[in-house]
Amino acid sequence: MKYVDEYRDPEEAQRLLEAIRPLAGEPLRIMEICGGHTHAIYRSGLDQVLPESIRFLHGPGCPVCVTPAVRIDQAIALAKRGCIVATFGDMLRVPGSHESLRQASARGADVRIVYGSLDAVEIARKNPGRDVVFLAVGFETTAPANACAILHARELDLENFSVLGSHVLVPPVLRYLLDAPGTEIDAFIGPGHVSTIVGSQDYAFLPEEYGKPVVIAGFEPLDLLEAVLLLLRQRAEGRCSVEVQYRRAVRPEGSPKARAVLEEVFELQDQDWRGIGRIPRSGLGIRPGFAPFDALSRYQPDLPQDVAEDAGEYICGAVIQGAKAPVECPAFGLGCTPEHPFGPGMVSSEGACAALFRYRQNAREARA
């Protein structure tokens, strides 16, 4: 498959590793921000082939994981009122305060899995007698697509479609992590797909204000190895800047058209992150001009109210923030599994706990 197979070449990986080794004497703690990267690191075993001095800290970049539990409760409440709830497949197992959408659907709630936001609009068009609520989550990558669904629904004059959103932004949560006491991050691997939309300039504050280098990377194993090499070279040459490894898809200015759609539909708001808490101006809310398409304003006051997020029973919050590794959690694999997630890190395949569980159970046993 073009643009995939050529990035999975084992010989090329060896050459990259050989170039990395002499530069990896001193420890380097790299946070990969995006859950897609976490997944790719475990899937390809990169953490095991790299020199031990290089450690990955898993970032909070999994939108499913950080969606507040109350959004799930709200979706379930709306389904119980007779709405059709449409959402991405990953959202079904996410535990709400009492149950997940999958459990609610087993009890008769009409929950439908969609592949994309326009599929949810299509469901509304085909079911004019029913209210359709699209439970939409995402970072800057997915938010424009979800915004587009609202624009399409308006164009089609759909009165039975609305979005129950949890849209989060990368830069504010990175500031939050770096401002927290005891941060141990030396460098970042920047989110490739978010950057196709926002460009590379959004991360200039990391080297400029915090002295942390960033390499924006693609999602194939060779992309990530090259990103590690670029970070090590920056260190060896005494540089600190934003570099783009994923040049085939990331332009400095991102995608102006997608940014315009974001700007038209959304505005900045304070946002609750599961496992972290409320971060000022770290999310996107639907503008008042689109209120009929905003499930939160349309169905208030019948919905469970937003409440402050708590970090969960185990070390879920610390894992989501990259401060602890999933293996440090006593529940990891023992009770907490992707089938029965206790916390946010285990609910999506892009969560750190779930990715490790899926790819490393045997390796852990082998090493033990």
Binding site: G116, A145, R248
Partner: protein, 80 residues
């Protein structure tokens, strides 16, 4: 959920929807978020939308730069 995969544009319809070949599977993909997509272009597809065109020229340049980096680390070339 955040998966985005490369695919090649087969045709573009009037409603700005394209038919895209994703490793042999054809899917309808909305082009509302990106400018200037043409038939045969490679695009990155995410939740039914093309996020960005894949730039073949940049991909090639990035490979060349990587080759230069390898040469550098083998000591076969001086930094330019």
């Amino acid at each position: 959920m955040c998966l985005a995969v490369p695919g090649q544009v087969i045709e573009i319809g009037e409603d700005n929807m394209a038919l895209v070949d994703l490793a042999g599977v054809r899917r309808k993909v909305c082009l509302d978020l990106v400018d200037g997509v043409r038939v045969q272009d490679y695009v990155l597809v995410h939740v039914g939308f093309a996020l960005q065109r894949i730039d073949e020229e940049e991909a090639r340049r990035a490979r060349q730069q990587l080759e230069a980096m390898f040469a550098l680390s083998r000591g076969e070339a001086e930094p330019s």
